[in-house]
């Protein structure tokens, strides 16, 4: 799967300008970078929620699923929320069980805590097969146990469906655990791209090195 090069002007006159990118099918690509580097904007443009400058298409002919940072719980039970995106109750039950929210199935989704909402939202988006699944910090609100369970689910989904996953994350360790390749963004530019091991162990760019040092890598 290839994305075309694009530019996108976003908050405070920052410009996101990216070259052509290849997102391999059946692989997980992690996007890392400091706050304001354009990660979320990148996800929104790819998913089509926001248009690139000049409105030209960035990805065409593929179905894209996008899980925003704060996913919206619809005014219905947790289970019904999940079943909005597919009609297989068995799959929904399995996902809820895997993420430890099976006890909350009948509860109003509006009453869930932040972490529970995040798990519900992940279950919901994993109900359907997309060609490309974009997850914007899916585990930011979760505790460690849930995070690991969520990572297992994402990995399994990617392997089963053979689709591409783009994971935006703040956690270098999560990128190391999950991703096959890493894209590093800085001030709206792609500064480094490569296999996870290679980027994390011997980054080529000074900016990447500085960013990783921050996390004690």
């Amino acid at each position: 799967m290839k994305t075309t090069a694009f530019t996108k002007t976003y908050s405070r006159r920052m410009v996101l300008s990216l070259p052509e990118l290849t997102l391999p099918e059946g692989k997980i690509t992690a996007v890392i970078g400091p706050n304001g580097s354009g990660k979320s904007t990148f996800a929104k443009v790819l998913s089509g929620i926001e248009a690139a400058d000049g409105r030209h298409p960035v990805l065409s002919g593929v179905s894209v699923g996008y899980l925003p940072q704060k996913s919206f719980p619809f005014r219905m039970s947790t289970e019904k929320n999940i079943l909005q995106n597919g009609s297989d109750p068995a799959r929904a039950a399995a996902l809820m069980k895997a993420l430890g929210i099976e006890a909350l199935a009948g509860q109003s989704a509006k009453k869930l805590s932040g972490g529970e909402t995040a798990r519900m939202a992940l279950c919901r988006i994993l109900m359907r097969r997309y060609d490309l699944l974009i997850l914007d910090e899916p585990t930011a609100a979760m505790d460690m146990e849930s995070t690991l369970a969520a990572e297992n689910c994402i990995r399994a989904y990617c392997a089963e469906s053979g689709c591409g996953v783009l994971l935006i994350t703040h956690s270098i360790s999560q990128a190391r655990r999950l991703a096959d390749q890493i894209v590093v963004l800085h001030e709206g530019r792609l500064i480094e791209q490569g296999d996870t091991e290679r980027v994390l162990s011997s980054p080529r760019e000074a900016q990447t090195r500085r960013f990783l040092e921050f996390f004690g890598v």
Partner: protein, 228 residues
């Protein structure tokens, strides 16, 4: 005042025919106008809240102006339009329940639009991001949005009903407070108080307050139910 209140309660308990007529006219006017306003106001409010299009800001300012329109101004306008010498005289609507309903629809539709617009403008962006992210179509997106709106539709309705039932300026002007025909609770209170007769006024006041209390109880109960 005590003996007046006692007489008023006796009047209510004795099912005084004029009192009953006033109540049924009030119910007819307020229920019809609030339901019409709901049917008109909810779609418009949701569209204004959910969509971004040129002229939207102008419409919002216009709507806010209409919300602030004094009922007597609205009443005067319709009195002039439907008077025997007005442009719509051939409809013969002045001093009828029909024109009272029309005037109230004009008064309360903006309230419903305002409530819906505020709620939807708050909710729609997050909901839309999630729904589009899931790959849902526009129809499904609107269905989910309507589902979110249920409580605000409900409270907008009660708010507009409360305004309709408490409103006096417009209905007095276009209805003429004609006994047995266009006299509603508020105009009757005004008429009887002018006449110096307080019993019926107090009886109607008690009923209005009780209604308002019930509406608010229902509202607070439903808030818990529907916002889930």
């Amino acid at each position: 005042m005590g003996s007046s209140i006692r007489k008023a309660i006796e009047l209510i308990l004795s099912a005084d025919p004029e009192l009953l007529n006033i109540l049924s006219t009030t119910a007819k006017v307020c229920l019809t106008s609030s339901i019409l306003a709901l049917v008109l106001g909810v779609p418009v409010g949701i569209l204004l809240g959910a969509e971004r299009f040129p002229g939207r800001k102008v419409l919002l300012v216009l709507n806010r102006t209409l919300i602030g329109m004094p009922p007597v101004v609205c009443g005067l306008l319709f009195y002039m339009l439907f008077s025997g010498v007005g442009p719509f005289r051939h409809l013969h609507w002045l001093f009828t329940v029909k024109l009272m309903i029309l005037a109230q629809v004009v008064l309360i539709t903006p309230i419903i639009i305002g409530v819906m617009e505020t709620f939807v403008a708050d909710t729609a962006p997050a909901l839309r991001e999630t729904a589009r992210g899931l790959g849902f179509g526009r129809m499904k997106e609107y269905r989910l949005l309507m589902n979110e709106c249920l409580y605000s539709i409900f409270s907008a309705y009660l708010l507009s009903f409360a305004r309709a039932i408490a409103e006096v300026g417009a209905v007095a002007m276009v209805g003429g407070a004609i006994a047995w025909k266009t006299n509603v609770m508020t105009t009757a209170i005004m008429m009887y108080t002018n006449r110096g007769s307080f019993t019926l006024g107090i009886a109607l006041g008690l009923i209005l307050l009780t209604l308002s209390l019930l509406v608010n109880i229902v509202l607070s109960v439903m808030q818990g139910r529907l916002s889930r």
